[in-house]
């Protein structure tokens, strides 16, 4: 039962995502018939599943929404701005209801009451009532029925709606495929559903039933002919709706009055589409249109843990391959080129496997972006601003963990952009801008990294004000000479907020520093550009995967360490650098008129007690996200290579100055340096010189 439940809610997530992408399509004016159709199906499936689990609140709301979508689908309702806005709100509420149901709750009824009544009022006037026994169906006075026949009367809309309803019998030929039974459907239940529509006659066609002793007895051969004399306003669509869940699992023909010639249905091969000659053209067309979207790309749901285990194994395969390669290199030089060839083939294969396996975890950012569109709607409403979200490159694929962990930072950034960035509609008009602000989310792959940019076309950062507040809070000194970038970066400092009165939206005790920390923990960088009057853009640059990292292998005090290459700016050979010793043994590197502090990596990590002479040391110039630089002194630089990241926290605990570990080709473990912790914060000293856990926080407040 629980599994079923889980499956339903997982499916709901997918369906809601489909609904939301359809709505975005509709809003952009690109909503064709198929868009509306797929939205309708999504809501309908949610309703169907919710009904099976007895989630009445969900069913009721989904039904109302479905009715509106049905009207849009049928062209009875134009999807203008108000309708789309209503659909958006309804979609959000539906997802709230699904969430509530997932946790076994109902939402307080008043919460969706206004949305529900809006939906009903939009659809109520025109709706034909497809739900058996539904209110809408009963509200239609049967007296209208005769008028439907006089199509040339003065009521085209109504007539349109009622036209297929002649109270003449519908003939349905139904033949189930084996898969229908395998999926647990029962024809008897379908017939019972039909019974709700009107007087029903079901006739089983026994002519094709083979005697049991003649195999194959596992193939169902029964077909049914059903004649239905509808009670009232039942059209073909209502009948189809009953069969919606077995769509594609049966041969279904619905014809008005003219019964197909006996035996014709039986001659249709089990898997072929219904023969056009058997049914009136209209029905066939509908079937064809409904079958088309069923041919979607085939996917399977896999437990993420299984994928992760596979990824781990492949990581080990790559390591084993490297170990093999290394011990071969150490062997006396042999003339056996065959082994060498086989080795390089193995290397290629294992590399390819690793790449493919990583790709399994990669997911388009679309679902992440769609969640953000809701944030934009809600925030702009709360802030009394008008905003729309434009997404670019939402097919860009990113590791699933990354997309999940980007939800909070992005949410916060969007709230900031709307609350602080965008002006009110009046201000925007005065500034000669479109009253409606635009927030753009863009994702792209750029040189082995994923770059996500959030842009708004608001006022930009008020640097004078930022400076003033930062001084007031003691983050900077009045005499500090700061560039524009420096000032922009103040926004990332802990405890900074430009709005004095903590607003209900963005100032919830977390600032951009939290955003930066989260991005950094994903191995990413955040940068910010702003142009006064034209807007602000925040750029997040992330590694493609969290599992592999490009690094320099270095030796320090007989230890092998990895320095990630992404913050690496320059490498200096011994004697190449101009080094000055300040007091207390602190040394700096003079580089293009800039003085860069030097950190002896061995001493910083406690591998040796005292910093050594720099005469024979290599220097690695690194730059942190804050733009501050530091030079790491190491004994030797061995090579640059890709390493598989192994977390330390799983079996041990986090280590100051160390980001993770990896396994080298010789099977030995090497630690990966956390470069950000190696960069001294100006005026605060280096973080790692104090060997206390949680150094960064302590050092900042020291």
């Amino acid at each position: 039962m629980n599994d079923l439940n889980d499956m339903f809610f997982q499916e709901c997530d997918d369906l809601l995502e489909g609904l939301s992408s359809g709505l975005n399509n509709l809003e952009d004016g690109g909503g064709d018939a198929e868009t509306v159709n797929s939205m309708f199906r999504a809501v309908h499936s949610i309703k169907g599943g919710a009904g099976a689990f007895g989630l009445n609140q969900l069913v009721g709301f989904a039904h109302a929404l479905e009715n509106v979508l049905d009207d849009v689908r049928a062209g009875k309702l134009t999807a203008d701005e108000t309708v789309v806005a209503l659909l958006f709100t309804a979609g959000d509420h539906l997802s709230d209801l699904v969430d509530a149901a997932r946790h076994g709750n109902d939402l307080p009824p008043e919460q969706g009451a206004s949305i529900l009544s809006d939906l009903k009022s939009v659809s109520g006037a025109t709706h034909s009532g497809s739900e058996p026994g539904g209110d809408a169906a009963k509200e239609e006075p049967p007296a209208f029925e005769p008028m439907a026949l006089t199509v040339d009367g003065g009521l085209p809309a109504l007539a349109d709606m009622l036209s297929p309803v002649e109270s003449e019998p519908l003939t349905i030929t139904f033949k189930a495929h084996p898969q229908l039974y395998a999926n647990g459907h029962d024809p008897a239940l379908l017939f019972r559903g039909l019974e709700g529509l009107g007087n029903l006659t079901v006739e089983a066609d026994l002519s094709t039933v083979v005697p049991l002793r003649d195999a194959p007895w596992s193939t169902p051969s029964l077909s049914w002919k059903i004649t239905i004399r509808p009670d009232d306003l039942v059209d073909e669509a209502a009948v189809r709706e009953i069969f919606e869940f077995v769509e594609g699992l049966c041969d279904l023909e619905i014809g008005a009055e003219t019964a197909p010639p006996p035996g014709d249905a039986d001659s249709v091969p089990a898997l072929a589409a219904p023969s056009p000659s058997a049914a009136p053209g209209q029905a066939t067309q509908a079937v064809a249109a409904k079958n088309a979207p069923a041919a979607r790309s085939s996917t399977i749901r896999v437990d993420l843990q299984r994928v992760d285990r596979l990824i781990n194994l492949v990581g080990e395969l790559v390591i084993a391959e490297a170990m093999l390669r290394q011990s071969m290199d150490e062997m006396p030089h042999s003339a056996n080129t065959g082994v060498d060839d086989a080795m390089s083939q193995l290397k290629q294969l294992s590399g390819a496997i690793q790449e493919r396996v990583m790709a399994i975890r990669a997911q388009p950012v679309r679902s992440l972006f769609q969640r953000m569109s809701r944030i934009v709607r809600e925030t702009s409403k709360e802030a009394g601003k008008s905003a729309r979200l434009v997404t670019i490159g939402d097919a860009t694929e990113v590791d699933k963990t990354v997309t999940e962990r980007l939800v909070d930072p992005l949410t916060h950034m969007i709230r900031n952009a709307i609350d602080h960035g965008l002006e009110t509609p009046e201000q925007r008009r005065a500034a000669g801008k479109d009253e409606r602000g635009t927030v753009t989310l863009e994702a792209a792959h750029r040189s082995g990294r994923v770059v996500i940019t959030l842009r708004d076309d608001g006022v930009g950062i008020n640097r004078a004000r930022v400076r003033q507040i930062a001084q007031h809070k003691g983050l900077i000194r009045p005499e500090d000479d700061l560039t524009d970038t420096d000032i922009d970066n103040i926004l990332f400092r802990p405890g900074f907020s430009t709005v004095d009165a903590v607003s209900n939206l963005s100032g919830r005790g977390v600032g951009m520093d939290v955003v930066r920390n989260e991005i950094q923990s994903l191995g990413g960088r955040v940068t910010l550009q702003s142009e006064p009057g034209a807007g602000t853009s925040v750029t997040i640059s992330l590694p493609l995967t969290l599992a592999v990292l490009e690094g320099m292998v270095v030796r320090v005090a007989d230890q092998t360490l990895i320095v990630p290459t992404s913050p690496l700016r320059e490498m200096l050979q011994p004697g190449q650098a101009r080094i000055h010793t300040l007091c207390d043994g602190d040394r700096v590197l003079a580089l293009n008129d800039e003085l860069v502090p030097i950190t002896d990596l061995g001493a910083a990590l406690g591998y040796r007690a005292d910093p050594v002479s720099l005469d024979l040391q290599f220097l690695l110039l690194i730059e942190g996200d804050s733009g501050h630089r530091s030079a790491l002194a190491v004994d030797t630089i061995a090579e640059q290579r890709e390493v598989v990241i192994k977390g330390l926290e799983q079996n041990y605990e986090s280590i100051p100055g160390i980001a993770a570990a990896t396994i080298l080709g010789n099977g030995k473990i090497a630690l990966i340096v956390d470069t950000d912790q190696m960069i001294p914060v100006p005026g605060k000293g280096s973080a790692v010189n104090r060997p206390v856990p949680g150094v960064t926080g302590d050092a900042l407040h020291a």
């Binding site: 990581g315 990590l605 192994k646 079996n651 041990y652 100051p656 100055g657 160390i658 473990i669 090497a670």
Partner: protein, 156 residues
Amino acid sequence: MHENEKDSKSVNRVEIVCFTVEKQDFCVEIAHVLEIRGWTSTTALPHAPDYVVGMMNLRGTVLPVVDLSLRLGFGKTEAGERHVIIIAQIDEKVVGFLVDAVSDIITVDEAEMQAPPDVLSARTQAFIRGIHTVDDDLVRAIDVRAVLPQGDRVDA
């Protein structure tokens, strides 16, 4: 019949892995032990307690190795080829214990384990769960959670 059943299938019967550290007998429950490995070199960790020898690679898993001798107060082990590492799983974590040798796997009755006498040091109280008497020898049962690096911080 009833008595018999209790004898052979009692829930109190546990298998323990006995090992020696500095010629003393210790044991852990076999349920914790994943495997026993020969000594392998480890990678030293910065800012780690001295009894954490370093990180070892167990077929792609990176795990810390604890010098049980030092942790229990006997002094540092100069690890070499003759030493063994007991790979143990404690809750979600996998840890290696560096010991002198593994001697036996025996079955004991948990109910007959004696509590360590009250007079002993804080370290003994924290790390020794109890004492089994096996053929006149005392086998100390280690509290595996307490000896972990992130277990109770008991300083010497």
